[in-house]
Amino acid sequence: GATLAGRAIGSASASSNLPPDVPEWMKTPGDPMGSQPYGSPSPFEKHVVKNIPKDLPQYLSASGRAPLQDLDGIITPNGLFYERHHAGVPAIDPAQHRLMLHGLVERPMIFTVDDIKRFPSTSRIHFLECSGNPGYQKPFGKTASDLVGLLSCAEWTGVSMKLVLEEAGLRPEAKWVIAEGADAVAMKRSIPIDKCLDDAMIVYSQNGERLRPQQGYPLRLILPGFEGNMNVKWLRRLHVTAEPVYSREETSKYTDLMPDGVAREFSFVMEAKSIILRPSGGQRLSGSGFHEISGIAWSGRGKIRRVDVSVDDGSSWQEAELQEPVLTRALTRFRLPWRWNGEPTVIQSRAIDETGYVQPTLAELIAVRGENFFYHNNAIWPWRIAVDGEVSNAANS
């Protein structure tokens, strides 16, 4: 192979890049400095993109999932952060964007984006998860991304919502804050005042740089641990009230229908959950022997205390190692060393959070909630490993 020069195409010439030969990319200088003033991934990674179905009835109110099974660690890179929007992504000029704060306050106010940046800042790593991730009915997604890809995690920077509310002065009757976005549906949700005065943030940055348009540029709410839809993007208005507003997204949608026709409203918290990402659906073990089991766990109620993994279809469980630091309401990476004996089996993980809550099975959830509940499915997810190493969603079979 040593005699072949230039860019290799096909397997014969490809071998000229392998030892003992010197690979072509060592023979001439690479791309000069400045080729990418803002960098992008290697062309060899171009298959790693958001998971967006090709056959949706429409793409304005739609979602794109993070390719979780291709990601490592706990930070989701901004380019692959999941998206959910109800009227497309607005192109907002930050110089012309305003945040209005009115209602049960001493002094109604208007803030520019620069104003918001002048407040004391804070940075925290938190997950965001869409509350319908996934549903309760078959067929369930093939890959981890199909299944729970409406989930991502970033380091958010902004101001504590409390400081902004205090700048206007809350009146004693203030019990809810209605947050509204500047997108074409003016997305709107009611948030209990306790959350607003606790850990809620108005953020402008994700993973160090300004929010991406898909994540709410130039301002969005972050309500750590609350369902994604409430973390209102393109935030333009905060209306302080005594009662919730019963918006379409907190009645028609994002309420949880029980078998008897009763529906639960204001069900905000995303409960403890975990999923194995490697090996996971659509992947294939190269053969028996060592394979690390790696996945993520999270809880809207605080820190992950423990993750257990079963490699024998649930008969027994072992405690996985948690990657430090374990942060509150953030993804937590867990790992278990494993030697596959080559026999078919089912693997799954089970998260336990600091409140002691144990992630349930799908059967347990359905026994209580039925199959029409739609939101807040935090079931343990089993992956089936076939004799040839293929991994598939065991809940579909």
Partner: protein, 163 residues
Amino acid sequence: QSPFGIGRTATPAEIAGWNIDVGPDGRGLPAGSGSVSHGREVYQNQCAACHGDQGQGGVGDRLVGGQGTLATSKPIRTVGSYWPYAPPLFDYIHRAMPQNAPGSLSNEDVYAVSAYILHLNGLLPADAVLDAKTMTAIKMPNRKMFVDDARPDVNNSACMAGC
């Protein structure tokens, strides 16, 4: 008074321009009114393409029917079968519909098309005219079926062996 001295006071006119919230109690509903019959016109011109000429759904949600289905294995959630209050229908159509030109309807047209959708659901007679007062007075059939979040509602055990 403002601890950091950041931002400025919002004027009543600014707030009036931006505050489009309509509460479940009808607070925020504007003056004006609209009839079922005018609403049929608005609907056929601006909504039917996405929601179907009978409100049966299409690219947009189904808007009609489903009463009595919520406790079955195939629940149909619509304005008529599921929504707890009527005024938020004004709120949502006014802020978000038609999807291709949100905010483009006059208040009168929003009242009218809301009236028509409520009529299709058997919640208003064909000759009804909707305004702030009549819309607030409507009792939605599913109102009583909403309860507070009851989670945690399952209780798995952390069995480690022989499970």
